[in-house]
Symmetry: D3
Subunit: 61 residues, 6 copies
């Protein structure tokens, strides 16, 4: 604990994901007081045809 889920569109590189996970873990640990080794991060990717704002999918914009 804590468990962090980052949901975003596909397209980030492995380097970006690696850095994302490192930095998020650091700041979650710092601000909650949980040891770094107890922080879990999940990345969930979505495609543009499965994500909409205002009723319009990003694949239809």
């Amino acid at each position: 604990m804590p468990y962090v889920t980052v949901k975003m569109l596909t397209g980030r590189t492995e380097e970006q994901k690696k850095a994302l996970v490192e930095k998020v873990t650091e700041v979650v640990s710092e601000t909650t007081g949980a040891p770094k080794e107890n922080v879990t991060v999940f990345i969930e990717e979505m495609t543009k045809n499965h994500y909409a704002q205002g009723g319009v999918r990003f694949s239809d914009k």
Copy 2:
């Protein structure tokens, strides 16, 4: 806000997903009072081997 997630089996066409997102956004806006542009919709698809009712997966029926 609101954030709507629709989880369903794969197999719907892009036309169906487009209409789904449009109509859901409309009625969520109408019934909650939130402006349409503030409504976010996510579609999550699952396959038949990852979905079960009564202990039996849909791929095993």
Copy 3:
């Protein structure tokens, strides 16, 4: 199937939630072809101190 989750700030009345669930079920059924009785809706409420955009919680605005 489908399973719909609507995540929103607390504050909607029971009448609004009842209408939300009815209308969402109707349009999900129409656009996906699933029978109405197979559509499940979950409402999840959050409070303003647990929701942030741009790094600022709604309780701090």
Copy 4:
């Protein structure tokens, strides 16, 4: 109801997933008192580059 989601790394066989779903449904039914046919199970798989503990992804270990 209940709805059970099992999130795990890819790599389990169809036989393992089938058994997982059967056994989880049985014990959820037994311990909650819900009839077996009312128990729904979802499996969600993740890849090693989308899962981290202690700030390190399993794909980087």
Copy 5:
């Protein structure tokens, strides 16, 4: 890993929840091959006004 989430209506006793968590952990471990100590279980409770099937909330039945 695995991470199991059980979503259900409020009303189960602490004894039921304790047994639920024990039994689910056992069978998830057996069928996936993951050591018991690596299995995490989350319980999420919902109220009858936030759960609907066929467009009707359980609080309105």
Copy 6:
């Protein structure tokens, strides 16, 4: 986008949650390239009787 959910046990102060949300938003923006104003953060709290590792709830330890 991105949408970040932080799931943790109850007990953090409002100051901790405020700092958590600020810092997470900053590093998610930096590492993914998304503008800070597009980053959404949700906090989800759980109680010790709804969270278990190795088949034992934290309320039973």
